[in-house]
């Protein structure tokens, strides 16, 4: 993958030109520290209709106050992406209206992902008092004459005399440790300020000091409900970079395992949505089926939730003899059980009243926010990576991509439940004719990627999961970036949740189905 650099002067014009040419999907924004070549950022753009993509980059040599023009007014998701790059690299984006640290605390010293960052304990000890929430948005805008942009503190985030409530880090319905900072008017939500970072583990910094086989376990712990797909993306990226051939048997096994993991994740999405809306019985029925998948996974891979199954060049161990029979048995049983979910919860009049027309995300917003996966397909945008850039066996298997145009919470759940049936269809086409062959190709003990930049993307359970590696030829990556499937959903949530009720806020959060460790990495 080659990247063409643009000079900083005419960066915004070329970006606006790309946008007018139809590049309306900003796939990824990767902050980079090329040490003596300065700090910069790589933008991966894609045309949502022709699926043609370009990689563009820009850099600045100044290391004390690096400044790049912001594109958050062109693509709405760039607002959060740029806050992340500011958090990790200290690059200030001029024209961004709310540039605060996204993950780390405001009193954090230094920018972690820079190569010259010193991670000593004294500099950043474990501070035991919660930090007061900042009051002002910080905006960098260039006054006409001066060269450097100044920090202008303008809009107040949450006013003191509003009824400010923390749906805080520890809350039963935030699917993890996400912090909604709301100002309420009765039951109406006036203003939402989503703060994440409570589960930021610095995985990308750790990856820069680990060999490639040691990076593989991190992908399972990013979005643990699409563990197989994440690992598939990383293995595919490394295998393409080193041209390691992978046998057909492995492609079959990997596709089947990806689809099983997708069903498992959609079942959990249905269960958590039922629990968040008060139907605990719906949650228990969803988990009853999910346990059957976890049994199949455990027999073959050894792990229920975190499987560690794919390795570079194949899979850890061959599938057990009874695997095909168990999977077919499960698929038939699931087709009957799914009708039960419709009767109990989905066609229930209370659920329909609480979810139809709630949290509507239009198609343009979905694309501009880059909300891929079930959320994007529920708003009418055909963004399935298995169709856009087919990989593994997806090119040879015929399956329907489910796209609805409702865009509200109800449609998002319907898309997931129908995708379960689609995935069962894929598995049934593959399960009977797994070819013979070795399950792992021999690889050298020390794996060194050649010089250059490589990327691969895969359809995770809740969106497009991408891996970008910049390698300088040694056994550790120079820079490794995972595309978070959840961060665009959070950006979309920021917009949808304004003006809804508290109960709707929980429903929207459940229907967007984001996984927080995948957002915070």
């Amino acid at each position: 993958m080659e990247v063409n650099f643009i000079d900083i002067k005419d960066f915004r014009e070329t970006m606006l030109a790309h946008r007018r040419k139809g590049m309306d999907f900003l796939r990824e924004l990767i902050g980079m520290d090329w040490q003596d070549d300065g700090l910069g950022a790589i933008y991966m753009l894609e045309n949502s209709s022709t699926h043609e993509n370009i990689e563009v980059a820009v850099r600045t040599l100044d290391r004390e106050r690096p400044q790049l023009p912001s594109v958050s007014d062109i693509w709405m998701v760039a607002e959060l992406y740029e806050r992340e790059v500011y958090d990790f690299y200290g690059i200030e984006f001029t024209g961004h209206h709310d540039l605060r640290r996204l993950y780390l605390r405001n009193d954090w010293v230094g920018f972690p992902l820079r190569k010259d960052y010193d991670a000593s304990e004294e500099l950043n000890p474990v501070r035991m008092e919660s930090e007061p929430v900042e009051e002002f948005q910080r905006e960098y805008d260039i006054q006409d004459d001066r060269e450097m942009a100044e920090i202008v503190e303008k809009l107040k985030i949450l006013h003191y005399d509003q009824y400010v409530v923390n749906i805080g880090p520890q809350h039963p319905a935030t699917h993890g440790v996400l912090h909604f900072h709301l100002s309420l008017e009765g039951e109406e939500v006036r203003k939402v300020d989503i703060r994440c970072g409570y589960i930021h583990r610095g995985i990308e910094k750790l990856c820069e000091s680990r060999t490639y086989p040691q990076i593989l376990p991190f992908t399972d712990r990013l979005d643990y409900l699409s563990a197989h797909q994440n690992r598939h993306a990383l293995c595919m990226c490394i295998e393409n970079a080193m041209e390691i051939g992978v046998s057909d048997r492995v492609q079959y096994i990997r596709t089947i395992m990806d689809e099983l993991q997708r069903i498992d994740s959609h079942l959990l999405m249905y269960s958590c949505m039922a629990m968040d809306m008060g139907a605990i019985t719906g949650f228990i029925y969803g988990f009853r089926e999910r346990e059957k998948i976890l049994d199949i996974m455990e027999e073959v891979t050894g792990g229920r939730l975190i499987q560690n199954y794919y390795v570079i060049g194949g899979v850890q161990a061959d599938i057990t003899p009874g695997f095909a029979k168990k999977v077919k048995e499960y698929c038939n049983d699931q087709k009957i059980r799914i009708k039960e979910y419709y009767d109990l919860f989905v066609n229930n009049v209370i659920f329909r009243n609480r979810s139809i027309g709630v949290g509507v995300l239009s198609r343009e917003d979905a694309i501009s926010f880059g909300a891929t996966g079930g959320t994007g397909r529920a708003s009418g945008w055909a963004c399935d990576v298995r169709k856009r850039h087919p990989y593994a066996m997806y090119g040879k298997v015929d399956f329907k991509e489910i796209v609805h145009t409702g865009g509200d919470c109800y449609t998002r759940l319907i898309v997931r439940l129908e995708e379960i049936l689609e995935s069962i269809g894929i598995i049934e086409q593959l399960i009977d004719n797994i070819p013979e062959g070795d399950y792992k190709t021999k690889t050298k003990p020390i794996i060194k990627l050649p010089e250059g930049r490589f990327s691969a993307s895969v359809e995770g359970s809740r969106g497009e999961f991408g891996v970008f590696i910049e390698s300088r030829g040694d056994k550790m990556p120079y820079r490794l970036k995972f595309r978070p499937t959840g961060l665009p959903l959070l950006a979309a949530a920021h917009k949808i949740m304004k003006g809804c009720k508290i109960a709707d806020l929980i429903t929207i959060g459940a229907s967007l189905d984001y996984v927080i460790p995948d957002i915070d990495r």
Binding site: E129, Y160, G202, R221, Y224, I284, L305
Partner: protein, 214 residues
């Protein structure tokens, strides 16, 4: 009256791990002489407390999904009496810390622990809560929650199986049964560590009117 070895239904005492720490706890409890009445009352209260440990729904990452699986139909920790997972720290007896605790999450966990009503317990579930697990070298991860709050039981695994979590809960039940409640566990510890002035999360500026806000 001697406090006898805590017994758990259908698992013999020898097959449990780490009995030495439990025996040292028992020895320390049996040092003072208690009369029969208080001893029996103690046993009764400990029997009650150990069979109804209500956990706080506290899950930060992957172990949280296994925590939900333990609550679901197949493993069903309602059989042990832990069924009611309370969301408010006031009514919870124990924090099952399932998941990674980062620098930003550490004050939140400490505050939750302070808000819980005595007698309270902490179970560290999974490698991340015990020692930082896969992210031990990271700049933002706390290497084990025993650095900020006292931990009673460690459940290793990444993530531990639901049965391993149930085994950890049974270990906690044994520890609860081996405690002296009257005159021991229920003496209100002088709240030295409790913060004097309450931690204010939104520092409220004294009445400045920012007019440009809508």
């Amino acid at each position: 009256m001697e406090m006898k070895k805590p017994a758990i239904k259908s698992i013999p005492y020898e097959e449990f791990k780490d009995n030495e720490t439990l025996e040292s706890l028992l020895a320390e409890v049996n040092k003072e002489r208690t009369n029969v009445l208080i001893g029996n009352l103690d046993d009764l209260i400990n029997w009650g407390r150990s069979n109804s440990l209500w956990s706080l729904t506290f899950a930060t990452s992957c172990c949280g999904i296994e925590f939900m699986a333990v609550g679901a139909a197949r493993y069903d920790f309602a059989r042990f009496g832990f069924e009611v997972t309370r969301n408010s720290p006031r009514q919870a007896d124990l924090i099952m810390c399932a998941g990674t605790i980062t620098h930003k999450m550490a004050p939140v966990l400490k505050r939750l622990y302070d808000q819980m009503a005595e007698p309270k317990y902490v179970v560290a579930v999974g490698g991340c809560a015990i020692s930082g697990g896969p992210f031990k070298g990271s700049y933002h991860v706390l290497n084990g929650i025993d650095k900020i709050i006292p931990v009673d039981v460690y459940v290793p695994g990444c993530p531990p199986r639901p049965e391993a979590m149930l085994y950890g809960m049974m270990q906690l039940q044994r520890k609860v049964k081996a405690e002296k409640f009257l005159g021991g566990k229920n003496i209100h510890r002088k709240r030295s560590d409790a913060p004097k002035d309450p931690i204010i999360v939104t520092n409220v500026p004294a009445g400045d009117e920012n007019k440009n806000e809508k």
